[in-house]
Amino acid sequence: MKIVACIKQVPDSAAKVVVENGRISWGDAPLVINPWDEFSIEAALQLKEKHGGTVTVISVGGENDKEAIKYALAMGADDAILITDPTLAGADTQAIAQVLASAILKIGGVEAGFFGRQAIDNDSGLTPAQTARLLNWPALTLAAVITYDGSRIRVERSIEEGRQSVSANLPVVISLVKDYGEPRYPSFMGIRKAARAEIPTWSLTTLGITAPAPVISWPEIMNPPSREVVCEIISGGTPDEIAETLADKILAEKVL
Protein backbone atom coordinates (compact mmCIF):
# COMPACT_ATOMS: atom_id res chain seq x y z
CA MET A 1 0.00 0.00 0.00
CA LYS A 2 1.33 3.41 -0.92
CA ILE A 3 0.82 5.56 2.17
CA VAL A 4 1.41 9.25 2.71
CA ALA A 5 1.57 10.54 6.30
CA CYS A 6 1.04 14.27 6.73
CA ILE A 7 2.86 15.66 9.74
CA LYS A 8 3.45 19.02 11.41
CA GLN A 9 6.24 20.35 13.59
CA VAL A 10 5.07 22.04 16.80
CA PRO A 11 6.51 23.32 20.10
CA ASP A 12 6.83 20.53 22.68
CA SER A 13 3.71 20.06 24.82
CA ALA A 14 5.73 20.97 27.93
CA ALA A 15 6.51 24.41 26.43
CA LYS A 16 5.37 27.54 28.19
CA VAL A 17 3.72 29.42 25.33
CA VAL A 18 3.11 33.16 25.63
CA VAL A 19 2.40 36.17 23.46
CA GLU A 20 5.13 38.79 23.46
CA ASN A 21 4.63 41.93 21.37
CA GLY A 22 1.90 40.24 19.38
CA ARG A 23 4.06 37.24 18.50
CA ILE A 24 3.76 33.71 19.82
CA SER A 25 6.84 32.62 21.74
CA TRP A 26 7.71 29.24 23.23
CA GLY A 27 11.08 30.32 24.62
CA ASP A 28 13.80 27.74 24.13
CA ALA A 29 11.38 24.79 24.14
CA PRO A 30 12.24 22.19 21.51
CA LEU A 31 10.24 21.84 18.29
CA VAL A 32 9.00 18.30 17.88
CA ILE A 33 6.77 16.22 15.67
CA ASN A 34 3.14 16.90 16.60
CA PRO A 35 2.47 14.21 19.25
CA TRP A 36 -0.75 13.02 17.53
CA ASP A 37 1.23 12.49 14.31
CA GLU A 38 3.41 9.89 16.03
CA PHE A 39 0.31 7.70 16.30
CA SER A 40 -0.38 8.24 12.61
CA ILE A 41 3.18 7.23 11.66
CA GLU A 42 2.88 4.18 13.91
CA ALA A 43 -0.41 3.11 12.28
CA ALA A 44 1.00 3.71 8.79
CA LEU A 45 4.09 1.63 9.58
CA GLN A 46 2.01 -1.23 11.00
CA LEU A 47 -0.14 -1.28 7.87
CA LYS A 48 2.98 -1.32 5.70
CA GLU A 49 4.57 -4.09 7.77
CA LYS A 50 1.49 -6.27 7.36
CA HIS A 51 0.58 -5.55 3.76
CA GLY A 52 3.77 -4.23 2.15
CA GLY A 53 4.19 -0.83 0.52
CA THR A 54 5.82 2.46 1.43
CA VAL A 55 5.29 5.31 3.86
CA THR A 56 6.11 8.79 2.58
CA VAL A 57 6.05 11.69 5.02
CA ILE A 58 5.00 15.16 3.90
CA SER A 59 5.06 18.35 5.88
CA VAL A 60 4.27 21.95 5.03
CA GLY A 61 6.56 24.46 6.69
CA GLY A 62 9.98 26.03 6.71
CA GLU A 63 13.49 24.57 6.49
CA ASN A 64 13.39 24.14 10.29
CA ASP A 65 10.61 21.61 9.99
CA LYS A 66 13.11 18.95 9.01
CA GLU A 67 13.49 17.88 12.65
CA ALA A 68 9.94 16.50 12.77
CA ILE A 69 10.41 14.85 9.38
CA LYS A 70 13.67 13.24 10.54
CA TYR A 71 11.90 11.87 13.59
CA ALA A 72 9.27 10.23 11.38
CA LEU A 73 12.01 8.82 9.13
CA ALA A 74 13.84 7.50 12.19
CA MET A 75 10.64 5.74 13.28
CA GLY A 76 10.74 3.91 9.97
CA ALA A 77 9.11 5.99 7.23
CA ASP A 78 10.72 5.37 3.82
CA ASP A 79 11.07 8.90 2.47
CA ALA A 80 9.84 12.44 2.92
CA ILE A 81 9.00 15.67 1.15
CA LEU A 82 9.09 19.14 2.67
CA ILE A 83 6.70 21.60 1.05
CA THR A 84 7.93 25.10 1.62
CA ASP A 85 6.93 28.34 -0.04
CA PRO A 86 7.08 31.93 1.17
CA THR A 87 3.61 32.61 -0.26
CA LEU A 88 2.16 30.19 2.29
CA ALA A 89 2.77 32.59 5.19
CA GLY A 90 -0.62 33.14 6.83
CA ALA A 91 -2.16 30.04 5.24
CA ASP A 92 -5.30 28.80 7.00
CA THR A 93 -6.41 25.18 7.34
CA GLN A 94 -8.36 25.31 4.09
CA ALA A 95 -5.22 26.46 2.25
CA ILE A 96 -3.02 23.82 3.90
CA ALA A 97 -5.55 21.12 2.98
CA GLN A 98 -5.37 22.25 -0.65
CA VAL A 99 -1.58 22.08 -0.62
CA LEU A 100 -1.62 18.60 0.95
CA ALA A 101 -4.27 17.33 -1.49
CA SER A 102 -2.23 18.67 -4.43
CA ALA A 103 0.92 17.01 -3.09
CA ILE A 104 -0.86 13.67 -2.60
CA LEU A 105 -2.11 13.83 -6.19
CA LYS A 106 1.33 14.79 -7.49
CA ILE A 107 2.98 11.86 -5.70
CA GLY A 108 0.44 9.71 -7.51
CA GLY A 109 -0.99 6.28 -6.77
CA VAL A 110 -1.44 7.07 -3.07
CA GLU A 111 -3.91 4.70 -1.43
CA ALA A 112 -4.05 6.14 2.08
CA GLY A 113 -3.39 9.57 3.62
CA PHE A 114 -2.61 9.38 7.33
CA PHE A 115 -2.97 12.25 9.82
CA GLY A 116 -2.91 12.83 13.57
CA ARG A 117 -6.30 13.90 14.87
CA GLN A 118 -5.16 17.52 15.25
CA ALA A 119 -2.04 19.60 15.76
CA ILE A 120 -1.40 20.67 19.34
CA ASP A 121 -0.61 24.27 18.32
CA ASN A 122 -3.67 25.41 16.35
CA ASP A 123 -5.93 22.69 17.73
CA SER A 124 -8.30 23.04 14.78
CA GLY A 125 -8.52 19.35 13.81
CA LEU A 126 -9.97 20.25 10.39
CA THR A 127 -7.16 19.28 8.03
CA PRO A 128 -7.80 15.51 7.70
CA ALA A 129 -11.48 15.94 6.80
CA GLN A 130 -10.79 18.91 4.54
CA THR A 131 -7.99 17.16 2.65
CA ALA A 132 -10.28 14.13 2.17
CA ARG A 133 -13.06 16.36 0.88
CA LEU A 134 -10.77 18.03 -1.65
CA LEU A 135 -9.55 14.63 -2.86
CA ASN A 136 -13.11 13.31 -2.84
CA TRP A 137 -11.89 10.40 -0.70
CA PRO A 138 -13.71 8.93 2.30
CA ALA A 139 -12.50 10.31 5.65
CA LEU A 140 -12.21 7.69 8.39
CA THR A 141 -11.30 10.06 11.19
CA LEU A 142 -10.44 9.50 14.88
CA ALA A 143 -9.37 5.91 14.28
CA ALA A 144 -8.56 3.77 17.32
CA VAL A 145 -8.39 0.44 15.45
CA ILE A 146 -7.58 -0.19 11.78
CA THR A 147 -8.00 -3.47 9.90
CA TYR A 148 -7.46 -4.12 6.21
CA ASP A 149 -8.51 -7.32 4.45
CA GLY A 150 -6.76 -6.60 1.17
CA SER A 151 -9.69 -4.77 -0.39
CA ARG A 152 -11.69 -2.91 2.24
CA ILE A 153 -10.34 -0.89 5.14
CA ARG A 154 -12.24 -0.91 8.44
CA VAL A 155 -11.83 1.57 11.23
CA GLU A 156 -13.20 1.84 14.74
CA ARG A 157 -13.72 5.54 15.35
CA SER A 158 -13.54 7.00 18.84
CA ILE A 159 -16.67 9.17 19.26
CA GLU A 160 -18.49 10.71 22.23
CA GLU A 161 -20.74 7.68 22.60
CA GLY A 162 -17.99 5.03 22.34
CA ARG A 163 -16.91 3.48 19.05
CA GLN A 164 -18.38 3.68 15.55
CA SER A 165 -17.21 1.06 13.02
CA VAL A 166 -16.97 2.26 9.45
CA SER A 167 -15.47 0.82 6.29
CA ALA A 168 -14.46 2.12 2.88
CA ASN A 169 -12.54 1.15 -0.23
CA LEU A 170 -9.13 2.65 -0.91
CA PRO A 171 -8.06 5.38 -1.36
CA VAL A 172 -8.93 6.80 2.06
CA VAL A 173 -7.90 9.45 4.54
CA ILE A 174 -7.44 8.19 8.11
CA SER A 175 -6.81 10.26 11.22
CA LEU A 176 -5.56 8.68 14.42
CA VAL A 177 -6.36 9.04 18.11
CA LYS A 178 -4.18 7.96 21.01
CA ASP A 179 -6.22 4.83 21.72
CA TYR A 180 -4.47 3.29 18.70
CA GLY A 181 -1.53 2.37 20.94
CA GLU A 182 1.94 3.54 21.82
CA PRO A 183 4.04 4.81 18.91
CA ARG A 184 7.45 3.16 18.64
CA TYR A 185 10.68 4.94 19.50
CA PRO A 186 13.14 5.55 16.68
CA SER A 187 15.75 2.81 16.52
CA PHE A 188 19.48 3.56 16.54
CA MET A 189 19.71 2.45 12.91
CA GLY A 190 16.66 4.55 12.08
CA ILE A 191 18.22 7.66 13.60
CA ARG A 192 21.41 7.12 11.59
CA LYS A 193 19.45 6.60 8.41
CA ALA A 194 17.32 9.70 9.05
CA ALA A 195 20.40 11.84 9.75
CA ARG A 196 21.76 11.00 6.31
CA ALA A 197 18.45 11.26 4.46
CA GLU A 198 18.08 13.77 1.64
CA ILE A 199 14.74 15.50 2.03
CA PRO A 200 13.53 16.97 -1.26
CA THR A 201 11.83 20.35 -1.07
CA TRP A 202 8.77 21.16 -3.15
CA SER A 203 7.46 24.66 -3.76
CA LEU A 204 3.97 25.54 -4.89
CA THR A 205 5.43 25.85 -8.40
CA THR A 206 6.42 22.17 -8.14
CA LEU A 207 2.81 21.42 -7.27
CA GLY A 208 1.54 23.64 -10.08
CA ILE A 209 -0.69 25.73 -7.82
CA THR A 210 -0.68 29.23 -6.42
CA ALA A 211 -1.15 29.88 -2.72
CA PRO A 212 -4.85 29.62 -1.89
CA ALA A 213 -6.00 32.93 -0.37
CA PRO A 214 -6.57 32.48 3.36
CA VAL A 215 -10.11 33.35 4.50
CA ILE A 216 -9.47 32.95 8.24
CA SER A 217 -7.38 35.57 10.00
CA TRP A 218 -6.29 36.24 13.59
CA PRO A 219 -6.62 39.95 14.36
CA GLU A 220 -5.49 39.39 17.94
CA ILE A 221 -3.57 36.81 19.95
CA MET A 222 -3.79 37.05 23.71
CA ASN A 223 -2.43 35.50 26.85
CA PRO A 224 -5.37 34.03 28.77
CA PRO A 225 -6.49 35.99 31.82
CA SER A 226 -4.41 34.80 34.73
CA ARG A 227 -6.24 32.72 37.25
CA GLU A 228 -6.44 34.87 40.34
CA VAL A 229 -6.78 32.23 43.00
CA VAL A 230 -5.33 31.94 46.41
CA CYS A 231 -5.28 28.34 47.42
CA GLU A 232 -6.86 27.75 50.78
CA ILE A 233 -5.11 24.79 52.38
CA ILE A 234 -7.52 22.66 54.36
CA SER A 235 -5.98 21.05 57.40
CA GLY A 236 -7.26 19.09 60.33
CA GLY A 237 -6.32 16.50 62.91
CA THR A 238 -7.63 13.46 61.04
CA PRO A 239 -8.54 12.60 57.45
CA ASP A 240 -12.20 12.61 58.49
CA GLU A 241 -11.92 16.11 59.89
CA ILE A 242 -10.21 17.32 56.72
CA ALA A 243 -12.86 15.66 54.56
CA GLU A 244 -15.69 17.28 56.56
CA THR A 245 -14.16 20.74 56.22
CA LEU A 246 -13.37 20.27 52.52
CA ALA A 247 -16.90 19.05 51.79
CA ASP A 248 -18.33 22.13 53.59
CA LYS A 249 -16.13 24.42 51.49
CA ILE A 250 -17.05 22.70 48.22
CA LEU A 251 -20.78 22.73 49.02
CA ALA A 252 -20.54 26.45 49.86
CA GLU A 253 -19.26 27.11 46.32
CA LYS A 254 -22.59 25.74 44.99
CA VAL A 255 -20.95 23.74 42.22
CA LEU A 256 -22.63 20.43 43.09
Binding site: K16, G125, P239, A243, L256
Partner: protein
Protein backbone atom coordinates in the same frame (compact mmCIF):
# COMPACT_ATOMS: atom_id res chain seq x y z
CA UNK B 1 -28.54 38.12 10.73
CA UNK B 2 -29.62 34.80 9.37
CA UNK B 3 -28.21 32.10 11.64
CA UNK B 4 -28.31 28.37 11.07
CA UNK B 5 -27.56 25.99 13.91
CA UNK B 6 -26.76 22.34 13.27
CA UNK B 7 -28.30 20.15 15.99
CA UNK B 8 -25.88 17.33 16.76
CA UNK B 9 -27.58 14.21 18.06
CA UNK B 10 -26.85 10.52 18.46
CA UNK B 11 -29.75 8.28 17.46
CA UNK B 12 -32.26 11.06 18.10
CA UNK B 13 -30.79 12.22 21.41
CA UNK B 14 -29.39 15.75 21.13
CA UNK B 15 -25.99 16.50 22.65
CA UNK B 16 -26.49 19.24 25.29
CA UNK B 17 -24.02 21.52 23.49
CA UNK B 18 -26.48 21.76 20.56
CA UNK B 19 -28.94 23.77 22.67
CA UNK B 20 -26.15 25.97 24.00
CA UNK B 21 -25.37 26.87 20.38
CA UNK B 22 -29.05 27.69 19.71
CA UNK B 23 -28.91 30.02 22.72
CA UNK B 24 -25.71 31.68 21.47
CA UNK B 25 -27.21 32.04 17.96
CA UNK B 26 -30.34 33.76 19.28
CA UNK B 27 -28.14 36.58 20.57
CA UNK B 28 -26.99 37.26 16.98
CA UNK B 29 -30.20 36.99 14.97
CA UNK B 30 -32.99 34.67 13.89
CA UNK B 31 -32.13 31.01 14.30
CA UNK B 32 -33.05 28.14 12.04
CA UNK B 33 -32.18 24.77 13.57
CA UNK B 34 -31.06 22.06 11.14
CA UNK B 35 -32.09 18.54 12.09
CA UNK B 36 -30.84 15.64 9.96
CA UNK B 37 -31.67 12.00 10.68
CA UNK B 38 -34.39 9.41 10.57
CA UNK B 39 -37.36 9.45 12.96
CA UNK B 40 -36.04 12.60 14.59
CA UNK B 41 -39.32 14.57 14.67
CA UNK B 42 -39.11 14.61 18.49
CA UNK B 43 -36.10 16.92 18.24
CA UNK B 44 -38.20 19.54 16.41
CA UNK B 45 -40.22 20.32 19.52
CA UNK B 46 -37.01 20.49 21.60
CA UNK B 47 -35.46 22.88 19.10
CA UNK B 48 -38.42 25.28 19.19
CA UNK B 49 -38.62 25.15 22.97
CA UNK B 50 -34.90 25.93 23.25
CA UNK B 51 -35.42 29.06 21.15
CA UNK B 52 -35.20 28.17 17.44
CA UNK B 53 -37.43 30.39 15.26
CA UNK B 54 -37.45 27.90 12.43
CA UNK B 55 -36.55 24.24 11.95
CA UNK B 56 -35.22 22.78 8.72
CA UNK B 57 -35.92 19.08 9.02
CA UNK B 58 -34.46 16.39 6.77
CA UNK B 59 -35.99 13.16 8.06
CA UNK B 60 -35.06 10.35 5.74
CA UNK B 61 -33.75 6.78 5.61
CA UNK B 62 -30.62 8.03 3.82
CA UNK B 63 -29.76 9.95 7.01
CA UNK B 64 -30.42 7.12 9.48
CA UNK B 65 -26.72 6.70 10.25
CA UNK B 66 -24.41 9.65 10.63
CA UNK B 67 -21.99 10.00 7.75
CA UNK B 68 -19.76 13.06 7.51
CA UNK B 69 -19.79 12.98 3.71
CA UNK B 70 -23.57 12.85 3.40
CA UNK B 71 -24.44 15.21 6.24
CA UNK B 72 -21.96 17.88 5.14
CA UNK B 73 -23.10 17.60 1.51
CA UNK B 74 -26.69 18.16 2.65
CA UNK B 75 -25.67 21.11 4.76
CA UNK B 76 -23.67 22.67 1.94
CA UNK B 77 -26.46 22.18 -0.60
CA UNK B 78 -29.05 23.74 1.69
CA UNK B 79 -26.74 26.64 2.49
CA UNK B 80 -26.09 27.34 -1.18
CA UNK B 81 -29.77 28.06 -1.74
CA UNK B 82 -30.65 29.29 1.76
CA UNK B 83 -27.67 31.71 2.08
CA UNK B 84 -27.28 31.92 5.86
CA UNK B 85 -24.85 34.57 7.13
CA UNK B 86 -23.51 32.26 9.81
CA UNK B 87 -23.61 28.49 10.32
CA UNK B 88 -23.02 27.38 13.90
CA UNK B 89 -22.33 23.88 15.20
CA UNK B 90 -21.29 22.45 18.55
CA UNK B 91 -17.62 21.38 18.74
CA UNK B 92 -18.40 17.68 18.88
CA UNK B 93 -16.69 15.03 16.80
CA UNK B 94 -19.53 15.21 14.27
CA UNK B 95 -19.93 18.98 14.43
CA UNK B 96 -16.25 19.60 13.76
CA UNK B 97 -16.17 17.22 10.83
CA UNK B 98 -19.35 18.47 9.16
CA UNK B 99 -18.08 22.04 9.52
CA UNK B 100 -14.71 21.07 8.00
CA UNK B 101 -16.19 19.41 4.94
CA UNK B 102 -19.05 21.85 4.34
CA UNK B 103 -16.50 24.71 4.39
CA UNK B 104 -14.66 23.08 1.49
CA UNK B 105 -17.89 22.66 -0.50
CA UNK B 106 -18.95 26.24 0.25
CA UNK B 107 -15.46 27.68 -0.36
CA UNK B 108 -15.36 29.32 3.02
CA UNK B 109 -13.57 28.81 6.35
CA UNK B 110 -14.25 27.37 9.78
CA UNK B 111 -13.60 28.99 13.14
CA UNK B 112 -13.32 26.07 15.53
CA UNK B 113 -14.14 25.76 19.21
CA UNK B 114 -15.23 29.31 20.05
CA UNK B 115 -15.60 30.21 23.72
CA UNK B 116 -16.90 33.76 23.08
CA UNK B 117 -18.45 35.41 20.03
CA UNK B 118 -19.45 38.92 19.04
CA UNK B 119 -20.65 40.61 15.88
CA UNK B 120 -18.60 43.45 14.45
CA UNK B 121 -20.86 44.73 11.68
CA UNK B 122 -21.77 41.53 9.89
CA UNK B 123 -18.45 39.89 10.77
CA UNK B 124 -18.30 37.37 13.54
CA UNK B 125 -15.34 37.73 15.88
CA UNK B 126 -14.67 34.41 17.58
CA UNK B 127 -12.43 33.99 20.63
CA UNK B 128 -10.95 30.54 20.85
CA UNK B 129 -8.17 28.76 22.70
CA UNK B 130 -5.04 27.59 20.88
CA UNK B 131 -2.20 25.51 22.33
CA UNK B 132 -4.90 23.83 24.47
CA UNK B 133 -5.71 27.15 26.11
CA UNK B 134 -2.17 28.34 26.80
CA UNK B 135 -3.18 31.22 24.47
CA UNK B 136 -6.40 32.75 23.17
CA UNK B 137 -6.90 34.08 19.66
CA UNK B 138 -9.55 36.27 18.05
CA UNK B 139 -10.48 34.78 14.74
CA UNK B 140 -12.58 36.02 11.85
CA UNK B 141 -13.62 34.76 8.43
CA UNK B 142 -13.74 36.97 5.29
CA UNK B 143 -16.14 34.78 3.31
CA UNK B 144 -19.77 33.75 3.74
CA UNK B 145 -21.28 31.74 5.19
CA UNK B 146 -19.08 32.17 8.24
CA UNK B 147 -18.90 28.73 9.84
CA UNK B 148 -18.17 28.45 13.55
CA UNK B 149 -18.20 25.63 16.07
CA UNK B 150 -18.73 26.46 19.75
CA UNK B 151 -17.20 24.66 22.67
CA UNK B 152 -19.56 22.77 24.97
CA UNK B 153 -20.23 24.40 28.37
CA UNK B 154 -18.79 27.74 27.17
CA UNK B 155 -22.26 29.21 26.51
CA UNK B 156 -25.29 28.97 28.81
CA UNK B 157 -27.96 26.42 27.98
CA UNK B 158 -31.21 28.28 27.27
CA UNK B 159 -34.12 27.52 29.58
CA UNK B 160 -36.74 25.70 27.49
CA UNK B 161 -40.09 27.46 27.02
CA UNK B 162 -42.70 24.69 27.06
CA UNK B 163 -45.16 24.91 24.19
CA UNK B 164 -43.17 27.43 22.13
CA UNK B 165 -43.39 26.65 18.41
CA UNK B 166 -42.10 28.09 15.14
CA UNK B 167 -41.96 27.48 11.41
CA UNK B 168 -41.21 23.89 10.44
CA UNK B 169 -39.81 23.40 6.95
CA UNK B 170 -39.31 19.86 5.71
CA UNK B 171 -36.46 19.54 3.26
CA UNK B 172 -35.67 16.72 0.87
CA UNK B 173 -32.16 15.33 1.30
CA UNK B 174 -29.93 15.27 -1.74
CA UNK B 175 -29.83 11.90 -3.43
CA UNK B 176 -26.22 11.12 -2.85
CA UNK B 177 -25.00 8.58 -5.44
CA UNK B 178 -22.77 5.84 -4.15
CA UNK B 179 -21.89 6.04 -0.47
CA UNK B 180 -18.13 5.95 0.07
CA UNK B 181 -18.17 5.20 3.78
CA UNK B 182 -20.33 2.45 5.22
CA UNK B 183 -21.36 2.46 8.86
CA UNK B 184 -21.04 -1.07 10.18
CA UNK B 185 -22.09 -0.63 13.77
CA UNK B 186 -21.54 0.89 17.17
CA UNK B 187 -20.18 -0.22 20.49
CA UNK B 188 -21.16 2.25 23.13
CA UNK B 189 -18.76 2.85 25.96
CA UNK B 190 -19.27 2.11 29.61
CA UNK B 191 -16.93 4.86 30.70
CA UNK B 192 -19.82 6.69 32.39
CA UNK B 193 -20.20 10.47 32.26
CA UNK B 194 -18.41 12.08 29.30
CA UNK B 195 -15.53 14.39 30.26
CA UNK B 196 -16.59 17.11 27.86
CA UNK B 197 -20.16 17.44 29.19
CA UNK B 198 -19.30 16.83 32.85
CA UNK B 199 -20.23 19.34 35.57
CA UNK B 200 -17.82 17.59 37.90
CA UNK B 201 -14.60 15.72 37.16
CA UNK B 202 -12.58 13.64 39.62
CA UNK B 203 -9.08 13.00 38.26
CA UNK B 204 -6.13 10.87 39.18
CA UNK B 205 -2.43 11.13 38.39
CA UNK B 206 0.73 9.20 39.01
CA UNK B 207 0.25 9.66 42.73
CA UNK B 208 -2.64 7.20 42.83
CA UNK B 209 -0.23 4.29 42.35
CA UNK B 210 1.87 5.12 45.40
CA UNK B 211 -0.14 3.69 48.27
CA UNK B 212 2.55 2.33 50.60
CA UNK B 213 -0.06 0.49 52.69
CA UNK B 214 -0.86 -1.95 49.88
CA UNK B 215 0.94 -5.20 49.18
CA UNK B 216 0.42 -6.43 45.63
CA UNK B 217 -0.44 -10.11 45.14
CA UNK B 218 2.58 -12.39 44.78
CA UNK B 219 3.96 -13.19 41.36
CA UNK B 220 3.61 -9.75 39.75
CA UNK B 221 6.66 -8.10 38.23
CA UNK B 222 7.47 -4.49 39.09
CA UNK B 223 5.40 -2.97 36.28
CA UNK B 224 2.39 -5.23 36.95
CA UNK B 225 2.59 -4.38 40.65
CA UNK B 226 2.55 -0.66 39.80
CA UNK B 227 -0.53 -1.08 37.59
CA UNK B 228 -2.20 -3.15 40.30
CA UNK B 229 -1.52 -0.40 42.86
CA UNK B 230 -2.79 2.24 40.41
CA UNK B 231 -5.99 0.32 39.81
CA UNK B 232 -6.63 0.21 43.57
CA UNK B 233 -6.00 3.96 43.63
CA UNK B 234 -8.31 4.65 40.69
CA UNK B 235 -11.03 2.64 42.43
CA UNK B 236 -11.00 5.36 45.10
CA UNK B 237 -11.18 8.05 42.39
CA UNK B 238 -14.10 6.26 40.71
CA UNK B 239 -15.97 5.83 44.01
CA UNK B 240 -15.90 9.57 44.66
CA UNK B 241 -16.85 10.24 41.02
CA UNK B 242 -19.80 7.90 41.33
CA UNK B 243 -21.11 9.65 44.46
CA UNK B 244 -20.76 13.07 42.79
CA UNK B 245 -22.15 11.96 39.40
CA UNK B 246 -18.80 12.97 37.99
CA UNK B 247 -16.64 11.93 35.03
CA UNK B 248 -13.28 10.28 35.70
CA UNK B 249 -10.22 12.11 34.40
CA UNK B 250 -6.52 11.30 34.40
CA UNK B 251 -3.18 12.96 33.78
CA UNK B 252 -1.01 12.05 30.82
CA UNK B 253 1.43 10.34 33.20
CA UNK B 254 -1.38 8.09 34.43
CA UNK B 255 -2.61 7.08 30.97
CA UNK B 256 0.91 6.67 29.57
CA UNK B 257 1.71 4.35 32.48
CA UNK B 258 -1.34 2.28 31.52
CA UNK B 259 -3.44 2.97 34.65
CA UNK B 260 -6.59 3.94 32.71
CA UNK B 261 -7.52 4.19 29.00
CA UNK B 262 -6.52 7.22 26.94
CA UNK B 263 -10.11 8.39 26.66
CA UNK B 264 -9.80 9.67 30.25
CA UNK B 265 -6.80 11.93 29.59
CA UNK B 266 -7.19 15.63 30.39
CA UNK B 267 -4.62 17.99 28.89
CA UNK B 268 -2.99 19.21 25.71
CA UNK B 269 -2.85 15.77 24.10
CA UNK B 270 -6.07 14.68 25.77
CA UNK B 271 -9.34 16.48 26.33
CA UNK B 272 -9.72 20.12 27.26
CA UNK B 273 -12.39 20.38 29.92
CA UNK B 274 -14.07 23.10 31.94
CA UNK B 275 -16.32 21.62 34.61
CA UNK B 276 -17.77 23.51 37.58
CA UNK B 277 -15.70 21.36 39.94
CA UNK B 278 -12.40 19.59 39.22
CA UNK B 279 -10.87 17.43 41.94
CA UNK B 280 -7.23 16.52 41.16
CA UNK B 281 -5.79 13.60 43.12
CA UNK B 282 -2.08 12.85 43.04
CA UNK B 283 -1.62 15.15 40.03
CA UNK B 284 1.41 17.41 40.30
CA UNK B 285 0.20 19.80 37.59
CA UNK B 286 2.43 19.60 34.53
CA UNK B 287 1.90 22.58 32.23
CA UNK B 288 0.19 20.46 29.57
CA UNK B 289 -2.29 19.14 32.15
CA UNK B 290 -3.03 22.61 33.57
CA UNK B 291 -3.73 23.86 30.03
CA UNK B 292 -6.47 21.27 29.74
CA UNK B 293 -8.38 22.13 32.94
CA UNK B 294 -7.44 25.69 33.88
CA UNK B 295 -10.90 27.06 33.03
CA UNK B 296 -12.63 24.82 35.59
CA UNK B 297 -14.69 26.96 37.96
CA UNK B 298 -13.48 25.45 41.25
CA UNK B 299 -10.34 23.33 41.40
CA UNK B 300 -9.53 21.14 44.40
CA UNK B 301 -6.08 19.54 44.70
CA UNK B 302 -5.11 16.68 46.95
CA UNK B 303 -1.38 15.98 46.84
CA UNK B 304 1.29 14.99 49.33
CA UNK B 305 3.80 17.46 47.85
CA UNK B 306 3.07 20.97 49.13
CA UNK B 307 5.18 22.43 46.30
CA UNK B 308 3.19 20.77 43.49
CA UNK B 309 2.27 23.38 40.82
CA UNK B 310 -1.38 22.19 40.88
CA UNK B 311 -1.84 24.16 44.15
CA UNK B 312 -1.21 27.43 42.26
CA UNK B 313 -4.40 26.75 40.24
CA UNK B 314 -6.48 25.33 43.08
CA UNK B 315 -9.12 27.11 45.14
CA UNK B 316 -8.83 24.48 47.88
CA UNK B 317 -5.91 22.22 48.60
CA UNK B 318 -5.13 19.35 50.91
CA UNK B 319 -1.49 18.50 51.49
CA UNK B 320 -1.72 14.92 52.58
CA UNK B 321 -2.23 11.27 51.86
CA UNK B 322 -4.91 10.89 49.17
CA UNK B 323 -5.41 7.25 50.14
CA UNK B 324 -6.80 8.47 53.47
CA UNK B 325 -8.44 11.75 52.37
CA UNK B 326 -10.23 10.43 49.28
CA UNK B 327 -12.22 7.61 50.97
CA UNK B 328 -13.08 9.97 53.84
CA UNK B 329 -14.34 12.56 51.33
CA UNK B 330 -16.44 9.92 49.56
CA UNK B 331 -18.03 8.93 52.88
CA UNK B 332 -18.80 12.55 53.80
CA UNK B 333 -20.37 13.34 50.41
CA UNK B 334 -22.44 10.14 50.52
CA UNK B 335 -23.90 11.38 53.81
CA UNK B 336 -24.31 15.03 52.78
CA UNK B 337 -25.84 14.28 49.39
CA UNK B 338 -28.11 11.61 50.86
CA UNK B 339 -26.75 8.75 48.78
Amino acid sequence: MKIWVYIDHFKGKALPASWEVVGAGKKLGTVAALIFGQNVEALVKDAFEHGADEVLLADDASLADYSAEVFSANLATLATSGSPDIIMLPTTTRGREIAAMAAIDLKTGVMVDGIAIELQGDRLMVTRPIYAGKLLVKETCSTKPQIVTLRGRAFPKPTPEPGKTGTLTKVTPISGGELKTKVEGYSTSDSGVSLIDANVIVSGGRGVSNNPALTPPAGLDEKQAEIWRAQQGFTLVKELASVLGAAVGASRAAVDAGYVPYSHQVGQTGKVVSPDLYIANGISGAIQHLAGMRTSKVIVAINKDADAPIFKMARFGVVGDLFQILPALTTVFKKRLGK
